[in-house]
């Protein structure tokens, strides 16, 4: 027997009212905790994939689209840029390093990206089995690709035009061969099939050739088209890539480079940091308003705890007086009532906390198959602790008045009634 059991039994004696308070509190915590998780996962995902890239240069269009397509590999590319232009940019003294990207095909929904080995190094991709691509049509695949598409070293496969698993033309003439598999990195690399740029060019020049033979030419619609002009394959001046990832040599680059590119070339430059901030601020309003609703729910639940405790004080007046008669001090009675409020709050917190994690795990299972994104860690010590402290605070506040009332019970008067 201790104070804790007394409080607990008192709550248990009124299961319906306790349940209502618990459910209300848990709902509020669930929403807040869930949003917090989503937000954190999203931000860490965004952060991880930016991986220090200062600028993305691609064809003119939406800057956000350029970032989404070239860094996160989710949206369609804005178009192509000339390899010669990209090479020129590489020689700019403000530029430390560039990584070219050429894309346009997929295998089972996983994008095939032509690039160089720096791209793998950028995401700290360590080859688990086999090695990095060496020759044309060698590919090194991300961990998730290997798992989902069940590809092994030495497997052959042909890409499908576009970014959808179905519906595009199959490039049957050229078969890729898996030469390596990356370890899981928790970045976009896990979802990619990497090869050299030349492979992408070859496949698409053939592809174009093939189509050129057709009477009805439908080349124009392929805005995500990557390959160079089919008729001048050997000429570097007409070679094209999808985009170029740029790293500045020094902060000066941020000032002049993007403006220069956007103004003086037919390419556009987009900063991942700026575009992602723009995206955050758009989403922020939605998240904030849902958050607000959740806090209102917690407030209501706190009020409901207060009312049930306050009401029960009337019925329990005699019991409280009895405890005093038995030698229980005023502080003991005070603590018992406060503890009842806190028990509900902490109980509600625990339920909401557990359910939000379960919800995230459920969604992440769903998201991994559909959007190719895995959810990482489920705990954020600082924010979780803050939420727990807030809960305890609400429980404390809600039970404060009833507890004071319990403490002030006039024993003699109550007992002689």
């Amino acid at each position: 027997m201790n104070i804790f059991t007394i409080s607990y039994k008192n709550l248990k004696a009124k299961p319906l009212s306790a349940m209502l308070n618990l459910v209300l509190f848990a709902t509020g915590i669930f929403i807040i905790s869930f949003l917090l998780l989503i937000k954190n996962q999203f931000e860490s995902h965004i952060e991880k994939n930016i991986a220090g890239i200062n600028l993305v240069v691609g064809a003119k269009g939406s800057p956000l689209q350029l970032i989404l397509s070239s860094i996160y590999q989710v949206d369609y590319p804005t178009g192509n840029i000339k390899l010669a232009d990209a090479e020129k940019l590489k020689r700019n003294p403000l530029v430390k390093q560039t990584i070219p990207l050429a894309m346009g095909d997929n295998y089972q929904g996983f994008r095939i990206v032509g690039t160089n080995h720096d791209y793998a190094a950028l995401y700290k991709g360590i080859v688990d089995i086999g090695g990095l691509w060496k020759n044309d049509f060698d590919v090194t695949i991300g961990a998730k690709v290997a798992e989902t598409a069940s590809l092994k070293i030495g497997d052959h496969f042909s890409g499908i035009h576009g970014f959808m698993a179905e519906g595009g033309d199959k490039h049957d003439e050229f078969k890729y061969i898996v030469t390596g598999i990356f370890n899981e990195t928790g970045t976009v690399l896990d979802q990619l099939i990497l090869t050299n740029i030349s492979s992408v060019w070859q496949i698409h020049s053939h592809h174009h050739h093939h189509h050129d033979g057709d009477a009805d030419d439908d080349e124009g619609e392929e805005h995500e088209e990557t390959a160079g002009s089919p008729h001048h394959e050997e000429m570097d001046t007409t070679r094209e890539i999808t985009s170029l990832l740029v790293f500045y040599r020094n902060p000066m680059g941020a000032i002049s480079l993007p403006r220069n590119i956007n103004k003086n070339t037919n390419m556009q430059a987009a900063s991942p940091a700026i575009e992602m901030n723009r995206l955050y601020s758009l989403m922020g309003i939605g998240i904030q308003s849902v958050n607000l609703i959740a806090y209102v729910i917690i407030l209501i639940s706190g009020f409901s705890i207060f009312i049930s405790l306050f009401n029960s004080m009337k019925e329990r007046k005699y019991e409280l007086a009895l405890m005093r008669v038995m030698g229980g001090g005023k502080t003991k009675l005070f603590t018992i009532i406060i503890l009842e409020g806190i028990l509900i709050a902490v109980g509600g917190f625990t339920i909401g906390f557990v359910f939000s994690r379960a919800g995230i795990l459920f969604i992440s299972g769903y998201a991994e198959s559909n959007f190719h994104y895995s959810m990482g860690n489920l705990f954020n010590a600082k924010e979780d602790l803050l939420l727990l402290l807030t809960s305890i605070g609400v429980g404390l506040l809600a039970s404060l008045l009833p507890a004071l009332k319990a403490m002030r019970t006039d024993i003699s008067k109550t007992l002689s009634e």
């Binding site: 039994k9 004696a13 019991e319 009895l322 405890m323 038995m326 001090g329 003991k332 003699s412």
Partner: protein
Amino acid sequence: MGPSGCGKTTLLHLMAGLLRPTKGTVSVNGIDISSLTQSQTDQVRGRQIGIVFQRPHFIQSLTVSENLRIARYMNGQKLSKQEITELLNKLKIGSKVHSKPNELSQGELQRLAIARAIINKPSVILADEPTSSLDDAHCVDALNLLRQQAEHTETALLIVTHDQRLLPFFSNIIQLNSVKQ
């Protein structure tokens, strides 16, 4: 002994330290409880005084055994299972250990109230109208029980009542009269 409204209960509450005297002192076992602090009074009352009230009230959310245990816990002592079983068996409600108070009959509640009053081995048992709601047979039962337990534990027993049926059983009787103002 005395008519309604003459201040019997007030006197009992004063003796139990539930009320503070405006004049004079109240001593329990040599301790002047009227000069102690509130929490010290609570302690002394919990350990030295067992009280049986007119209507047997219990904490409804706790079981019979928990209601006894809380009487000990409230003044910082522990109670073993064995003590509870022995006491409840002696009072013939041993089978109700795990029942809730609202599942007990009036007579059983009365016995449980006595059990609670003596659980801390107090130096004095104060009973406030313990028999007023009982019929003749139960009245005698309850009275005998109180007396037995008091004698058994060598505890002083003081009953406040207007119940004339109790008169023949006691040697020391204090008569209170209401003062007409």
